[in-house]
């Protein structure tokens, strides 16, 4: 895998990495067709459009039509990638459910600008529900790469999945957290740090703050594991259970509402397989316009020191018993 990434730094932000990975797929597989809904520049699918104009269709501002079109391409033997803002992909949820997922079609959904990443545009553009909506679908695979190199590799990996995949990325903010030379293993919980007192599970760019929080906690004498749940569905039950067994307490940190997203996925799994306390650290409500994504992270308690504080509270609450 490392040979695919001569210089991970050159990938740019996470949406740039996805745009570059799609270009590569376009070269390697003539059946790849890319669609977008009037956001070719923002989603970086414009690069594909310039290189492969005949295999690119800008559907206009009509996400529902885009999903149906993608379904038709898949029925016609093509491998469509449909890119839109995560928020507006949700507009086509029923089309995704009834047409794409129900027929188990080979349609890849590239959802950009997720979470708080589209900070300037405000609450109307900040998706805090999409993980929940996509992971309830029967056939859907849900992937949230952590950083640009992982996003690049994840695109190549989901191309090998025959069936619908939802890939969730942010806009620009995407600090490095994974080892760029590591092989990407779709479906496997990735342990970024090992620890014994508490496990922090997260995904996407907020992971950088989770890792930072773990370091702060370690300085205070807590042994903290950090796991990257980049594949939310199908969930890696075995590794999650092992993590729960080892630590006995799990804190889930996500750029999403604390219902149905990562917290839901982890809690549902552990409730059945190995019940331990699971605590959410998530968006407190709708977002707001902000000059920086960091302002939103701070407001919603998703920066390292707030996360560390919540972890200490959880440890105090549950370790006393």
């Amino acid at each position: 895998m490392s040979s695919q990434l001569a210089s991970p730094e050159s990938l740019g932000a996470i949406r740039d990495a996805v745009g570059k990975a799609l270009l590569r797929l376009g070269e390697e597989d003539k059946d790849v067709v890319v669609l977008t809904a009037d956001v070719a520049r923002s989603t970086r699918t414009r690069w594909f459009a310039e290189r492969f104009p005949e295999r690119f269709v800008n559907i206009g501002i009509s996400e529902q039509d885009m999903i149906g079109f993608a379904a038709g391409l898949a029925l016609g033997g093509k491998k469509p990638y449909a890119a839109a803002f995560a928020m507006f992909m949700m507009r086509a949820w029923e089309q995704i459910r009834n047409t794409v997922d129900r027929m188990n079609l080979n349609v890849k959904l590239i959802a950009t600008h997720s979470g708080f990443s589209d900070h300037g545009d405000g609450a109307s553009h900040q998706s805090l529900e999409d993980i929940a909506l996509m992971r309830v679908l029967h056939n859907m695979t849900v992937v949230i790469p952590a950083d640009p190199p992982q996003a690049y590799k994840a695109i190549l990996a989901i191309h090998r999945v025959r069936g619908p995949v939802y890939l969730r990325i942010g806009r620009d903010y995407s600090p490095p957290v994974t080892d760029p030379s590591a092989e990407y293993r779709l479906g496997e919980l990735e342990l970024l740090r090992d620890g014994e007192d508490v496990a922090l599970v997260s995904a996407g760019p907020v992971l950088a703050h989770v890792v930072e929080a773990a370091k702060m906690l370690e300085a205070k004498g807590l042994s903290v594991a950090v796991a990257n749940l980049h594949t939310v569905k199908p969930i890696d039950e075995a590794r999650l259970v092992r993590l729960a067994q080892r630590t006995g307490l799990v804190v889930v940190v996500e750029e999403h509402f604390p219902r149905g997203g990562l917290f839901g996925a982890v809690a549902e799994t552990l409730a059945q397989r190995y019940p331990v306390p699971v605590v959410p650290v998530a968006a407190k409500g709708y977002g707001h316009s902000a000059r920086s994504v960091m302002d939103l992270y701070e407001r919603h308690g998703l920066v390292a020191d707030s996360i560390a504080k919540r972890v200490v509270e959880a440890v105090e609450k549950w370790r006393k018993r």
Partner: protein
């Protein structure tokens, strides 16, 4: 004209001129109507009125014109999408004519182990799963575009049957604009305009405006016909196939056609 066996009919009909083809379709649709009524007597919840209004259109496409295949790839065949999926009993009744279902299979309509209440592409003869209105035309556009990429789009067609009530769904118009914009002339849309939707007459629930003009304004060619006249339907289909632009056939029909009690009220269920 003498009654011909069903499979023999399907083999022969392709080469016949329009008029005898229409006569065969008349026999076919009589048999199919009886099957729909039988299904309705077994399972009251099926959409009889809509099935009867769509039947002649579907018969003309499936049997009068026939769906052709030139290779194994999905882009090397004609497709039929029943976007108004609730009319699926009409499709099932015709699949018996094509030997893909038996009369006995029809008795299992909406049974737990039987035929699905809306089209499911797990069944041979159903190309695309539908049921949620408004989505068929978008799917057709994707298939038609795949045909263009595979250079089969002058050989093969995607037929989409919609209802006039279904035109309330905004996605239909999103797709109509996409198809016209991309010039996907291998799509033939047929609107089964029976004047009714679930809760009543289309004019009462939501006015559809000047239907022909709505399509035309986006760049579609519009052909208006009597949707129960087999000859007219076949003629319109041939005309649509020869057209260099996408064509919508607005087929004026009667809900419950052939069943007096239903036809009079525009009802859906018996």
């Amino acid at each position: 004209m003498p009654i011909v066996s069903r499979l023999e009919l399907v083999r022969r009909i392709d080469s016949l001129p329009a008029q005898p083809r229409a006569q065969i379709l008349h026999q076919v649709s009589l048999r199919a109507r009886k099957r729909i009524l039988r299904m309705a007597s077994i399972e009251k919840s099926i959409h009889v009125g809509s099935s009867l209004s769509s039947l002649d259109i579907l018969a003309a496409i499936l049997i009068g014109r026939g769906l052709r295949r030139t290779g194994d790839k999905p882009t090397e065949k004609d497709w039929l999408i029943l976007s108004k999926g609730h009319a699926v009993p009409a499709l099932y009744a015709l699949l018996v004519e094509l030997g893909k279902l038996t009369d006995k299979d029809l008795d299992t309509i909406r049974d737990i182990d039987g035929l699905e209440g809306h089209p499911d592409n797990g069944l041979d003869g159903v190309d695309v799963s539908t049921g949620s209105l408004g989505q068929g035309l978008s799917i057709a556009a994707g298939i038609a575009y795949a045909m263009r990429l595979d250079h089969t789009w002058t050989t093969h067609r995607v037929f989409v049957v919609l209802g006039d009530g279904e035109l309330d769904e905004g996605q239909v118009w999103e797709a109509a604009a996409t198809i016209a914009h991309l010039g996907l002339s291998n799509i033939v849309a047929i609107v089964d305009a029976n004047g009714f939707q679930l809760d009543g007459a289309t004019s009462e629930i939501k006015n559809k405006g000047d239907l022909a003009q709505r399509w035309r304004s986006l760049g579609w060619r519009v052909i208006e016909i009597d949707g129960h006249n087999h000859e007219m339907i076949l003629e319109a289909l041939s005309e649509a196939e020869a057209s260099p632009q996408p064509v919508v056939i607005i087929a004026y029909t009667r809900r419950g056609n052939g069943l007096g009690v239903l036809e009079a009220t525009g009802g859906q269920h018996v």
